[in-house]
Symmetry: C2
Subunit: 329 residues, 2 copies
């Protein structure tokens, strides 16, 4: 490994001069600078990031902590984050969950974090966050000066979906919840309940866990009960898709026998048969927003602006009677 010392020697200057030349800081003559840069080139020199970070107490890196890669859900969020980072001096690191995640966070290997992993406990977040280490949360409603929750406006989309179901006369309702520790699932359920209540309706609840199979199994369970609901709201699309699969196996069809609504608008949702009514949001914008606020905080100490990411209901075949709403795949 060639160090700045080697470069300095080759250029015949002090280490300081070499550092100044390489970083374009300090005061250094043009001739010297050139000589240093040439030497660096010739020696194929690249500064040791660790030494630099150790000295600077800054990494110019932001970390994204997700629980796993799968689910095709994070993808667009990550792309949004990436798109913002590309225009800055920052680098982007994505770290999937594991004991090492905590280590990374704790060891301050990044200047700030975007967290999308509900397995990281609230206390950790609160303990870690500081002016020097701001954190943006995409998965829970926790907040202080250095912790910014950036959440979906679940209520908006759910209300639209409820109205859509209600106005078509679906009044016997069920709700399939997602993972028990999920903030989003809880909020979606709350809203759905509140709406139902204000229309003097009740809702049967089933506990799922966001997977396709849990939707499938919930549907089976419901079908084996004596009375079917008229409409079921699943806390995400994967469960809705599983639900529909089970219905198909029992020769039930949506929306004729049960209307089905999901959440997320994953790509698949418009390719199934029937297409899944769902609630969409711009995940790309979501990620971009998060990155934006984080960078702004880091660079200019711009205070965090809590904000909700808009969502909107997308009526499709699985919950729409009569004239079929056909979207081109």
């Amino acid at each position: 490994m060639t160090t700045i010392r080697d470069v300095a020697k080759r250029a015949g200057v002090s280490v300081t001069a070499a550092s100044y030349a390489l970083n374009d800081t300090g005061t250094i003559g043009d001739a010297t600078r050139k000589r240093v840069l040439e030497a660096a080139e010739e020696l194929n020199y690249h500064p040791n990031a660790f030494a630099r970070h150790l000295k600077n107490r800054q990494t110019l890196t932001i970390g994204v902590f997700i629980s796993r890669f799968g689910g095709s859900f994070y993808e667009e969020v990550l792309e949004g984050i990436h798109s913002v980072i590309l225009d800055t001096d920052y680098e982007l690191l994505v770290c999937p969950e594991s004991r090492s995640t905590r280590r990374m966070l704790l060891h301050r290997q990044v200047d700030g974090a975007i967290v999308f992993d509900s397995k990281i406990p609230d206390e950790s977040i609160l303990k870690l966050a500081s002016r020097r280490f701001p954190i943006v949360l995409l998965d829970r409603a926790l907040q202080n000066d250095f912790v910014l929750p950036l959440l979906l406006d679940n209520a908006q989309g759910v209300r639209e979906a409820f109205r859509h179901l209600y106005e078509q006369g679906f009044h016997k309702l069920a709700f399939v919840a997602g993972a028990a520790d999920s903030f989003d699932s809880a909020e979606r359920m709350e809203t759905f309940f509140a709406e139902a209540e204000s229309h003097q309706l009740t809702v049967d609840v089933y506990q799922g866990n966001f997977t396709e199979i849990s939707g499938y199994e919930t549907a089976k369970a419901i079908i084996y009960e004596h009375t079917l609901p008229e409409a079921v709201f699943c806390a995400n699309d994967q469960m809705a898709i599983g639900f529909l699969r089970a219905m198909r196996e029992h020769d039930l069809s949506a929306p004729k026998d049960i209307a089905v609504v999901g959440f997320d608008d994953i790509p698949l949702s418009r390719y199934t048969q029937p297409q899944v009514s769902t609630i969409g949001t711009s995940r790309f914008e979501w990620g971009a927003s998060a990155a934006h606020q984080l960078i702004d905080f880091l660079e200019n100490e711009t205070p965090f602006q809590p904000q909700r990411i808009p969502t909107h209901f997308l009526p499709r075949e699985s919950s729409t009677q009569k004239q079929v709403v056909q979207e081109k795949p």
Copy 2:
């Protein structure tokens, strides 16, 4: 930030003793060790990763360099990598393409790399790789003692697909290539050509770029020509899906008018109408293999074992005449 110095002071021992106690190295008495660990706990001490790495010249981290997050293609590969890393002491960092990628690579912030980003030039790879910095390549056939290509066995799948088409009597063939700089596209094309040649057939080639739209437009172009091919092989599924979309718009149906085959077996491919015949592979295993070999090299200097990831043809509706092969979605 609390440092090891603070911990040592609080425990009333030297910095060395503290370090030994914390890392379980050196010789240190039980009583002292306990005192140090307590002090660390009380002060909420976490070692500074940069200082440590600087000293150790080791990061216990492997980096994955991809061009972008989108495409739902990397996802499973990443999961495979992750699954292996979880069982080791290593951490996983994923870094999307940008000027910073090069920086990261160059600055040795990781102990080894898995590269899936054809924008990184061959020379960079060769220049960087060394016993101390092994690199696994998922996107090109470059090799030496410290550079391991782990590629799909494109030939295998393509041959199966060719046979499937040939035996059904599709003898007028076309090939839609992917991005011009893609190794995989080139290899798929080569194999397809070789097969055709050995059966005294010729193939019309069209240049696509792996996107859905390029498949769509190629189809348009072909349809406007006077004679349609009997079968078209697209270098990936997205193009095949685009191709089918264009066919539908012209009231052509697969395989009746043109049989269509893709590559990759992306989730969507079995949800389209008709379902896309394609060539599948276990991307999860692919990632796992890469991680495995890299870790093995790092820990035990186990020499790299070049190997091809098996692929297999999956006949589906878009290329199968008569009895329809129906897979459950």
